[in-house]
Symmetry: D2
């Protein structure tokens, strides 16, 4: 941590700060420039640093405090430089294979999820997605069939062998969802719901943590640290687009985040071009882009009849378009040293 004093800080101010820091047991390193004085603080723990920064920035003679190390540890790249993998019923995420998760936004009927599961399995997908509990901006919209939908997903898994991923929105539903789900999804609106993050940190089911729609990479990694600090290390991150001024697309898919996360964390990185664009016509191009940029997997909305979908029809692919996308990915993955 570095503390920069204002040009008007007095000798007395300087001495006060240094004495305060030394009294707390930190090493102090003073560097006096022509304009400004810089104080380096040595030996502070992360939680202490945040506290020091907050306290000291309130002082009128402190210009700012700059942390020089990352505010997350367990999920940082240096914790496992070789990268980590998550094993879901034999499907390895974060390894050589680029993993494809596909299926409808929402589980509507048993027939619909079975038809979807067969279609995505036939096209080559590895994991089935489908929403049982759905967050909706309006209280009057459809919110998912809940536990009934979980049972339909389990039936689709029984028939196709595809592991299933589904969203959990409420810590009180967690036990139920864990009975059925192979991967828990934390959605963008709950990306800083720390109560829920702590709860999934205490179970051992793998978790796919979506990015908050206005979360910086550093905040997202700290949200993942909540889960890891509970002892659940089976975490994947999912880039799903961020909120910007552009209105032509529903979100702006942050392609930079993929290689950036590969530098910052050892966790596998999944791309969600369906929400990242919000337009079916753009999904295939952005899916290819994500794999070319090094994503460990993708999650794509596929619906047998998008025009009848209860939710997110506008961004769902038909099985025929998804088939073509899988064919593209089979050619593309080897270019970046992967298979599909």
């Amino acid at each position: 941590m570095i503390i920069i004093l204002t040009a008007s800080a007095s000798d007395r101010n300087r001495r006060d700060i240094i004495e305060n820091l030394e009294a707390r047991g930190f090493g102090v390193h003073l560097s006096e420039g022509v304009e400004k004085t810089v104080i380096g603080v040595i030996g502070a723990m992360d939680e202490q640093k945040a506290q020091i920064a907050e306290q000291f920035e309130a002082l009128p003679f402190v210009e700012r405090c700059i942390p020089i190390s990352q505010p997350y540890k367990l999920v940082g790249r240096s914790f496992r430089p070789e990268g980590s993998t998550v094993n879901v019923r034999g499907v390895v995420i974060g390894g050589k294979q680029a993993v494809v998760m596909a299926g409808p936004c929402t589980v509507e009927t048993e027939a619909q999820i079975l038809e979807s599961a067969r279609a995505v399995k036939k096209a080559g997908a590895h994991i089935l997605r489908g929403g049982a509990y759905k967050p909706s901006t309006s209280p009057y919209s459809f919110h998912g069939h809940g536990v009934d939908a979980l049972k339909m997903l389990a039936a689709a898994r029984a028939e196709t062998g595809l592991p299933i991923i589904t969203e959990v929105m409420d810590a009180r539903d967690l036990e139920t969802v864990c009975e059925y789900a192979d991967i828990l999804q934390i959605g963008t609106r709950n990306a800083q719901n720390y109560t829920l993050l702590r709860a999934v940190g205490e179970c051992r089911t793998p978790v796919m943590l979506k990015r908050g729609m206005s979360a910086k990479l550093e905040e997202w990694l700290q949200a993942a640290e909540y889960i890891a600090s509970g002892g659940n290390y089976n975490i994947m991150l999912c880039e799903r687009g961020i909120r910007t001024f552009e209105t032509y697309t529903r979100n702006t898919f942050d392609i930079n985040a993929i290689p950036a996360l590969k530098e910052l964390t050892h966790l596998p990185v999944i791309a969600d071009p369906s929400h990242g664009t919000g337009k079916a016509s753009l999904v295939s191009a952005v899916t290819r882009a994500a794999v070319a940029a090094g994503a460990d997997g993708v999650i794509v909305e596929v619906h047998p009849h998008p025009e009848k979908a209860l939710k997110d029809g506008a961004q769902s692919l038909t099985p025929a378009v998804f088939d073509q996308l899988m064919a593209d990915l089979r050619l593309l993955a080897p270019v970046v040293g992967r298979s599909v």
Copy 2:
């Protein structure tokens, strides 16, 4: 709802859509222009509109669907054109008085919260704020003293008579918090935590709903509709700054939102310049601005010793600065037809 077809839509496409809509019992109004065809849908309920929009936008010959009415009802201005008020132990929010809530970010000790309560009461504040459960970006930071802090707040209320506002983060804590709090605060990170919104909708304690840091006004009002649709009409909205590209301030306080909300909703509007700026030196100016723009109240962080604050010290006012701010507000409020 209006459906705009693409220039390439065929007569057959047009006929299909119209038949589909009529079969569902909606009125249809066709308007054929030189370039494009526009279809008006009459008689659809809100929840149907969202569904129609999603389904139809997935069709290749539909360019876009435009809702023409607001996606919220109970909190809309037209529901109570005269505006609504919330009565908190005799303090009326949304009436002639601009209400001032003040206190420390976090309840640290009984001595600290008592000293704070006395100071803000003496300066003229109407309600005491203080955090018992604190959301923190890092899992390693301080998260509040929980129920012990609630008891300290109650002690401060007993002594000063000030009603108290405090944040609730988890539906499982709701019963406990309601025992002590006069106003429940929903924080920015939980602004779209629909589980929590539904839960506070079912109790009758007044709620102050902060804006999500990247929530559009329409999304924010739909979040409020979640609470209202549960039967709890005692809702205030709190503008606390949005996330933008500017980094000099912690957030960008959206002053436009204050008069805009006054047009869109009957709910009282509170301003939080402490989080809206993140810098103590800017808080007084933005508080004055909020009252001048028509806010029904403000919530301001005041700490007897900001340099020792466990959280958010950088944005807390000292009691002396807060005193001066209250003096300014007493002069300013009458200019906009209010008292303080």
Copy 3:
């Protein structure tokens, strides 16, 4: 300037950097922490700092370079701590009076600008605004009457005595515009048009520099530094709203910027609530807010017949509404130690 090395930097890396810096004549201050090494560079000029930062950040063992002083000098607060004023035909901007500039977006006809000038003069405005050269997003829109409009403005000044402010978009028009204008306006789309900034820096007519719609405060102040470094110190800054994700308003007026600029620069700060909101119904509230936050003046679009305005009718006030706003400001200004 501070250089932070990565955890993996070797002793050799350290030595190389230090030797390079010393060879250039800079002082070097080394601070070795548990995790990372920090190097302070002493005695570098601003332009050298930017260059050092760019070069060194390209080295694999440098994590980042942090400038510790502001990248502008002439417009910085410390250059004139007491604040600067701009005198426009006797109207002093930046002094005790909050200055009001008002008029139509575009000069349409001599009758229109005369009617506007009389109306805003009668209501108490100090300066007349009106566009002769208009930037338009579409090439097919109206672009202003050019020099004819300048002459109409001059006629309105002759009759009312109000100094005039008008936009210049092209360095090639500068001489002509300077013949008529009392204040040159640089619009948001040209806020980083360095060619134009240099050109107005070389003349002596006062300049009002609008904020680029996605400019950080620091970038805006550097744009002002372009003008000042040419010798033209008669500069005002104009906050006119920034681009964010919110779509209900045309822009998000950054009220924080007003007190923030008062800390950072000595230049007078003007608020433009017409563009900052884009909606006539919000303009009065945000104008009051800006004055309450400490703005040195405001610029407001007023049109005698907004429904017939060629441009920006939706955000123009009628003379009657503007009259009421002026009455509000006369009450409000004294609260912040000003007159109108």
Copy 4:
């Protein structure tokens, strides 16, 4: 164009609007719903639509006006559904080949640009980039060697045969730059400098128009329309990242924009991952992503000695890394039906 009236509009209001529109010669189509009345306007020209929208939105009984056709024509996809190509000394942009432009940010010395040109040519690049006139946020930074740099670029072209692209910032320099450049670049800060756009519209040298850092796709296409409406159809668009809240990267590369532009316009689309990320370590991944998403070309900063670069060293690739990137692209391009 569609006009939506407020719920409170009277019969008289309705009649007034219809008469006004009919008097101007437009067709009118009235659709009365349960809550609101919608008026369709038929036969208005684009420039009239903008004017109608502005006038009518100022009326208190008009809720909003919605244009239903695109505000650009010459650059719209429907103008040339098969896509357009730009031929630069035999290099065809927008055709089967994904075109690679590479070179240093700034032309520093003849030796530097020659060394760069040889390196990128050897690696397989098709066009040489290099800045002669450089926009800089600070007035005290380096601004390019101007005409001397143009001559050095011409020397590099003479030796290697690579066509050259270079930025023009000022209409007054245009004639000079056109003498040397094969492609004119309009930078992000001048993306809405309409004076400059009109000027390059009048010459016939191909133009690469960068996206404004906060420009929506629609605004960007209107900027391109400025150039096309002057008669210069040799236009390429260059996505270079947009400004968002994320600070880890310099900009957020908008990968969605690539397939979105392919739907909206016939112009070739180039990607600039160097500015789009601002970090050399991310450039290769995002370049691959852009080609996988369907970009017609890329522009990449390559510097023989990035650690010595006068500008943008942090985002420049070394020749060795660029070599590897070209090898990747040669494998990747065929997957999307292209060669490199």
